[in-house]
């Protein structure tokens, strides 16, 4: 049993359920409470849960994220919203040195069960400072876990897994997905948890594998339709969902099946998630490849503002189709 639900409401339902399940879960961030959330993700939660569980913070990312990390060492489970993941830069020391390294430097005496969540995407014409896509950056730090849900069901399930995880998990959402709709299992149909580290085959195919995460998955699904209808190419779409831990087996399985891969990644090409995936494929499935792995990534410049061309800087269905045709 399932119902249609918006991506933002699926996240809210996850937060609400976890607030109910565990009294130590506390949601904090800028405008999350009385303003009802900059993107209405937390709408209604303050009214329901009050000031102790839903906390408005000042614009002070290093301060409140560090505060959440410190509180988590005493067993609190803060879920902290970055209004944009782009603002990671002003809290970087807390996100990396403290959240990722404290466990290690203490020889395993401490753990940091925090979630940091918020949108990490381009495509909204807000310029370079607000359009960073740092999932590859944070996945590069051992001690951190990173996921990037593409659908409402995955957004809900991954958020619940992230909150229950005893390590720091950074959930990268997408402002352009908040208003998208999808099937989500009924709340009373059991606990809908999507484990970290498990990819999802969003479309079965036989000719080529499109491997993506976040909003790029949606572009891949659109491109796959075009490829089928206009070119007779049957593309498989694998949604990584989780960046670290990474479902390496699912990646290799689809490549072994189709023998071709186009990696679609909204981050930049240099050192991005797709660079890592490409490495794993060549190392473990080299003999299965009929063509070099190719990629569709964000054009390698800071994010442009201009609404006339920003979509061309980002992965989009047309760029994916072109890249597939160039390989096939």
């Amino acid at each position: 049993m399932s119902r249609k639900m918006l991506y933002r409401h699926a996240i809210r339902e996850a937060l609400d359920e976890e607030l109910t399940r565990d009294e130590n879960v506390v949601v904090m961030g800028e405008e999350v409470a009385q303003y009802n959330g900059a993107y209405k993700v937390t709408e209604g939660l303050w009214e329901k849960w009050g000031c102790k569980r839903i906390v408005d913070t000042p614009i002070s990312e290093a301060g409140f994220i560090g505060m959440g990390i410190g509180a988590s060492m005493l067993g609190i489970r803060p879920v902290m919203e970055l209004m944009f993941w782009s603002f990671h830069s002003v809290a970087f020391d807390q996100l990396v040195n403290n959240a990722a390294c404290v466990r290690y430097m203490s020889g395993g005496l401490i753990n940091v069960p925090i979630v940091v969540r918020g949108p990490a995407n381009g495509g909204t014409n807000v310029g370079a400072t607000h359009s960073h896509i740092p999932e590859g950056l944070f996945a590069a730090f051992p001690g951190l876990k990173v996921c990037a849900p593409a659908t409402p069901a995955d957004a809900k399930g991954l958020m619940k897994a992230a909150i229950r995880d005893n390590d720091p998990v950074y959930v990268m959402e997408n402002t352009l997905l908040y208003g998208t709709e999808g099937e989500v299992p009924e709340a009373d149909a059991g606990d809908h948890v999507v484990p970290l580290g498990k990819a999802d085959l969003k479309r079965e195919g036989s000719d080529i594998s499109l491997i993506a995460h976040g909003r790029s998955v949606i572009h891949c699904l659109a491109a796959a339709e075009t490829l089928k209808e206009e070119h007779g190419i049957n593309a498989e779409v694998l949604d990584l969902r989780s960046i670290r831990p990474l479902d390496q087996e699912a990646i290799l399985e689809t490549v072994r099946k189709t023998n071709r891969a186009v990696l679609v990644d909204e981050s930049k090409g240099f050192g991005g998630v797709s660079a890592m995936v490409s490495h794993l494929i060549q190392e473990h499935a080299f003999d299965h490849l009929d063509a070099p792995i190719t990629r569709v990534t964000t054009l390698d410049a800071p994010a442009i503002y201009s609404p006339h061309v920003e979509n061309e800087q980002l992965p989009n269905p047309k760029r994916i189709v072109d890249k597939v045709l160039a390989q096939a």
Binding site: N24, V26, K52, T57, P58, S60, A62, G63, F64, I65, G66, M67, G68, I69, G70, A71, S72, M73, L74, G75, I76, V90, D93, Q94, N97, N98, V102, R103, Y104, M105, S106, G107, G108, L109, I110, N111, P113, P142, G143, K145, A161, D165, N166, D167, P195, L196, G197, K198, S242, R244, P245, L246, D247, Q248, M276, E283
Partner: protein, 360 residues
């Protein structure tokens, strides 16, 4: 720098309730703690200079009264966190010399299994949360410890130590604001040793009155304390700690102190940015251990013999810790991959899904 205002210099804090309640044994114990810290650090300096350990060694020598005085006031729900000059606090909360020395040696029996080193000592079982390497980076964590106490409705306080060099870091100011705004039971303890590495306070900070006075900008209480007087440290720190515990209000206290050695032992200019006279003056007139010893001798609490006995025992304990550290096993290469993720260390279901580590 100043060690205290003229007024507070004349006041005797022995009469404050928190000091009157000290028994003779308690007072001797404070002397023992400070002596142990100094002897431990002198021993570690000796071995560092022999090249047996890596990294940095930020010595606390000269500042012992700050950690010992404040931590001596602890209650069940009080928590502590500091920066990289963390050995004194570690011993004051009850960590053993052996595990601390072994950590300097990078041994598996070190307090952090050889994974943290000098700057990263931790003992959560003793409410000690490190040991942090980035200047000012620990202050939001200290704030968070206070937040956790308040959230759990426990009567306690978080003591968050920082140096005078940290007060110009953004994270410190963000923490001050949040502490006051959310009424967090935290006490920020500025250990003012006069120098942020090689730059004097005068050349690094703009302020009115003293560094702690910046608290006024955040509508927070503050105080200035002469760190060479252990009675004063305890009397004034206790007020701030009680304010946190009973009223859930934060404070900033600045404790004037001094370090005899460089920023770290690797500080090549340690004797260039300060005059030898300045260092000698502190040793002679402001050394907190000597002053406390004289005070206890005057009070008839301590005898010369007892003092020597304590000092000899501390020296022996430190020497033994060197022997322990030298004979302790080094970490294995395999152990590099432990303690990254809680879920992996505990072999949970979650740890078995997906690839967590990327070693080719």
């Amino acid at each position: 720098m100043s060690f205290a205002s003229e007024d507070s210099q004349k006041l005797d804090f022995a009469g404050s309730p928190v000091n009157q309640s000290l028994s003779a044994d308690d007072k001797i114990e404070l002397f023992r703690q400070m002596t142990r810290i100094r002897r431990f650090e002198q021993a570690s300096l000796k071995m560092y200079n022999k090249g047996v350990m890596g990294g940095f060694l930020h010595l606390y020598i000269g500042q012992e009264s700050v950690a010992v005085g404040t931590i001596s006031l602890r209650g069940e729900h009080d928590h502590f966190i500091t920066a990289y000059r963390d050995h004194g606090h570690a011993l004051a909360v009850g960590m053993g010399m052996n595990e601390c020395m072994a950590e300097l040696y990078g041994k598996a029996s070190g307090c952090s299994k050889g994974k943290g080193g000098s700057m990263h000592y931790f003992a959560p079982d003793k409410n000690y949360w490190g040991g942090h390497g980035i200047v000012g980076g620990q202050t939001p964590l200290g704030l968070g410890l206070g937040y956790g106490l308040k959230y759990k409705e426990l009567e306690g306080c978080a003591l968050c130590y920082l140096g005078d060099g940290a007060v110009n870091q953004g994270a410190v100011h963000e923490s001050f604001n949040l502490a006051a705004l959310f009424e967090i039971p935290v006490v920020f303890v500025i250990e003012n040793n006069g120098y942020s590495m090689g730059t004097s306070q005068k050349r690094s900070s703009s302020f009115r009155g003293c560094l702690a006075q910046r608290a006024e900008g955040y509508d927070m209480e503050w105080d200035l304390i002469d760190g060479s007087d252990l009675y004063q440290v305890r009397a004034k720190a206790n007020i701030a700690m009680e304010r946190a515990r009973k009223e859930s209000k934060p404070s900033v206290i600045e404790i004037a102190t001094y370090r005899y050695y460089g920023h770290s032992v690797a500080d090549a200019n340690a004797k260039k940015y300060r005059t030898p006279d300045e260092i000698e003056n502190y040793k002679k007139n402001h050394d907190p251990i000597r002053l406390w010893e004289h005070r206890l001798l005057d009070e008839g609490v301590l005898t010369e013999e007892k003092s020597k006995e304590i000092d000899d025992a501390a020296k022996k304990e430190a020497a033994d810790s060197i022997e322990f550290a030298e004979n302790a096993p080094a970490p294995t290469v395999d152990s590099i991959m432990d303690d990254v993720y809680w879920e992996s260390d505990n072999d949970t279901e979650a740890s078995k899904i997906g690839r967590h580590f990327f070693n080719d």
